[in-house]
Symmetry: C2
Subunit: 508 residues, 2 copies
């Protein structure tokens, strides 16, 4: 049952007078529930509860935190079809995607649960003392990791489950020992409330402290900014636009006590295709990339938005084929009318730049919020000289850059801002000559892929989902995979500490 | 031979017209060499060389980087007595301290050399692919750490060797694969130039790229701020005042591409002494702490500037004894007239606050720049209500807070900002009742010490030298010990990458 209210800790509360509805983008109508934005008083209570809960929660054993995380996973599964239907009604995404993303969400929760059952993730280091060392005794030093404190997580528009209310940020923060306050995404507040209700059930069932989780609703920036500025908040996770992420980063940096902000923002995910690869399998690559560009209506942060080639006899054939294949995939609905408007505006902006040719664009759409997939081409020199083409167009849109030689291609890479991923499509025979391209890509990205597509981010301890700014605000951490837990902890050293007062995991 | 010039890469250069001299604080006169501030053109050249050097240096093997670091250590040792004399002439510190700090500096370089001979420090994670996984193949993922790029290090005033030109920041950044540009400290430019000359010799002897190291001279903030704002600089290390560190942090956060800044700033290092500890060994503790307060003329970032007790029959006796013992240790010279002036000003500020009693202060000094050691006392309630007493007084100064009960003592801790260290002096019989005090301290500090003194920071893999703001700007990293290398790298993942193109350390 959706109420439209906030969870202030375990309590449903909707005292405010600002309200909003979510939108069914396929039907282009508002969904029925009225969601109530949290008041400043409700926010203050959520933060206070969170800080109080932290005092207890940080001391709860890894084993008990694991039970909590697994119970959240169980309760999300128990929401059953109600969650799937709400997800689809608020996102325009198909049921298969909803179920898949729920699976990923539950998998992440269980993976972090498994991880924190043991305390190895804390990167404990024991350096035993030497009281008789000369000229001065060596102290006994034992280092571990401790949680930072209450964390605010901003739900992402494009993954209503896996990067939202109980997504990777929440799972990793709760695993680390940090309470979480969710700023629910106004585009899928209903999905958010359902998942929040599952978390609150798990809080109660497993006896976690009231305030370890709150779910805050609101449209616009007021609520989120107030949370980021609150002195009791100690870190922030965000997935979304560069403008939104940077605004939060700036707020956090301007605090009296600056706090870490992990914003995963824009990326065009450059793909380099060698002439040899086109020579041997242009059609196969076109098929593969038409699928990757349009996957999830192009609404993935790893969508290949930029394809770089050196001009050869196959270039034009490939681009035409890629365009044809891309627009032959049935157009899909976007997440929200605002996202659709942004897609049209940003796509037009790039298409209208000097030297850009639209190679293919869908011209008939099923409904108001459907996206016209589009493939474009431009020369290397026009691309390099015009930064307007270097920004993300969120949606099924890609730009192929035809460079006159490898030097120009490398220059194009060097003109890019930081990216989540870089990809090389190449043949066996290319391997010895790829050094400079790999170097250039490596300096710009967090993950490099060989003969694959950048979409599909495996949840793995070896994953890096992050990259130089503005792909993320802090390239030193990943937001996907088990290592994401490192964002929410700091090192802490016990010196000369009595054995009986040390945590179990720092005993000899 | 000191020239007063900058090292722009391997080249000595002094094109500017702004100059300064260092000061011999013991004699209170200027030292003879005229140091020339780098011009904007010289800065630009240093940064360009650094960025070019990075392209080569990042690919140089760990084994060769180790030889480079060890050669720097050798060349610093080879400076012999010239370095020791220069150090003493510019810092007022005794020869024994100079030799000890040189030993620590050389030890750090060799420790990082040893560490990077193997590639384990990169925290490599290999997650082998499963091409036949259902429903989708699992990609082969291999994660490692790669260097961020050129780093600017600000030399510290209080450790002219171990936290300066070839100190821990420089050693860890060079070990990680990052070129370093030093902003030399204007109080010890001569010591800095000598050490820089040793590094440049090592660059040449081991065939490292020109630009992997530069040494920039200048007084005031112009030079340092220009470096932090430069787009080719990718990270910053700083040890110094809160005002100075925060200014750099703000500049870096305001860049188009924000960069990580590791500033190690102020700390008063609270020490809790239980009534039982005073009951059983007040005199021993007084002796121990008189030594720690005055060590290095109180110019250590871990100096115990705050001592917290619950009032008991022994409190007054202890404080009087601590004051007596502290001022009976011969007064020493401070690092610089400016540091002395700051000590007098900040010490007077605290002494003059309501409720503060000066329990002991040296009244006769050997020279102009000598510091009058001072111990003060105040009640818990006066301390808690007056933040002017919560800031660092850099020098041999400590404030004892007499709390009426444990509740007030914990409240005093909770009113503190972030700290590098916290210490508990306690008896066996106290252990079971210390829980709340430990909790409170843990939330405020990076390192907690039992029955010891906070001064003396071991170079160890288990050390945390850092803490919640403003102890450091990023509590998630240590600036001392081998883990300090993590500040200068970011994770990087190879997906589906051909074996023959993977680095050695990511092979099966």
């Amino acid at each position: 049952m959706i109420t439209g209210k906030n969870y202030i800790g375990n309590r449903l509360s909707g005292e405010g007078d600002k309200t909003h509805h979510t939108v069914n983008p396929k039907l282009n109508i508002e969904n029925p529930t009225e969601f109530v934005e949290a008041t400043p008083e409700e926010l203050e209570e959520a933060v206070s509860l969170s800080e109080k809960a932290f005092q207890t929660y940080k001391k709860i054993s890894g084993g008990k935190r694991a039970v909590f995380l697994n119970t959240i996973a169980d309760e999300i599964d128990a929401l059953g079809n109600e969650l799937i239907q709400m997800y689809c009604a608020e996102s325009g995404l198909p049921e298969g995607r909803a179920a898949g993303e729920r699976g990923r969400t539950v998998f992440q929760l269980r993976a972090f649960a498994k991880m924190v059952r043991k305390d190895d993730w804390r990167q404990n280091v024991i350096d035993v003392g030497q009281p008789d060392r000369n000229p001065s005794p060596k102290p006994d030093l034992r280092k571990t990791s401790i949680p930072l404190g209450p964390v605010v997580v901003f739900a992402a528009s494009n993954f209503p489950l896996a990067f939202s209310t109980a997504g990777g940020d929440t799972a990793s923060a709760l695993a680390a020992g940090c309470p979480v306050i969710i700023k629910s995404h106004a585009m899928h507040s209903g999905t958010g409330e359902l998942v929040a209700s599952a978390i609150i059930k798990a809080v109660k069932k497993t006896g976690m402290p009231n305030g370890v989780f709150s779910n805050i609703t609101g449209r616009g920036r007021t609520v989120g900014q107030a949370l980021v500025k609150h002195p009791k908040i100690k870190a922030v996770g965000f997935t979304g636009s560069i403008a939104g992420g940077r605004a939060l980063f700036d707020l956090a940096a301007q605090r009296n006590e600056p706090i870490p902000v992990f914003t995963e923002m824009g990326s065009i995910n450059p793909v380099v295709i060698t002439s040899n690869a086109l020579d041997s399998r242009a059609e196969e690559i076109a098929t593969q990339y038409a699928g990757s560009i349009t996957l999830g209506t192009g609404q993935f942060c790893t969508k290949p938005g930029l394809i770089l080639t050196v001009e050869s006899e196959w270039t034009q054939v490939f681009i035409k084929d890629l365009a044809k294949k891309t627009i032959s995939i049935e157009a899909q609905c976007m997440l929200h009318p605002n996202i659709k408007d942004g897609y049209v505006e940003n796509g037009n902006l790039v298409s209208q730049q000097k030297g850009v040719t639209v190679m293919g664009k869908i011209d008939t759409l099923l409904g108001e919020n459907y996206a016209a997939s589009q493939v474009n081409a431009v020369s290397g020199s026009d691309f390099i000289s015009n930064p307007k083409m270097h920004s993300e167009v969120f949606g099924p849109f890609s730009l192929v850059v035809i460079c006159k030689d490898e030097k120009e291609l490398i220059s194009a890479i060097n003109h890019l801002e930081g990216q989540l991923t870089g990809t090389i499509m190449a043949e066996e025979s290319d391997k010895e000559t790829l050094g400079e391209v790999v170097d250039a890509l490596q300096s710009r990205v967090g993950r490099i892929i060989f003969n694959g597509v950048p979409t599909g981010v495996e949840v793995s301890g070896a994953m890096t989902h992050g990259g130089p700014y503005p792909a993320s605000s802090d390239s030193r951490f990943t937001s996907v995979g088990l290592e994401a837990i490192k964002r929410w902890v700091r090192p802490f050293t016990y010196q000369g500490w009595p054995k009986e007062m040390l945590p179990d995991y720092l005993q000899d």
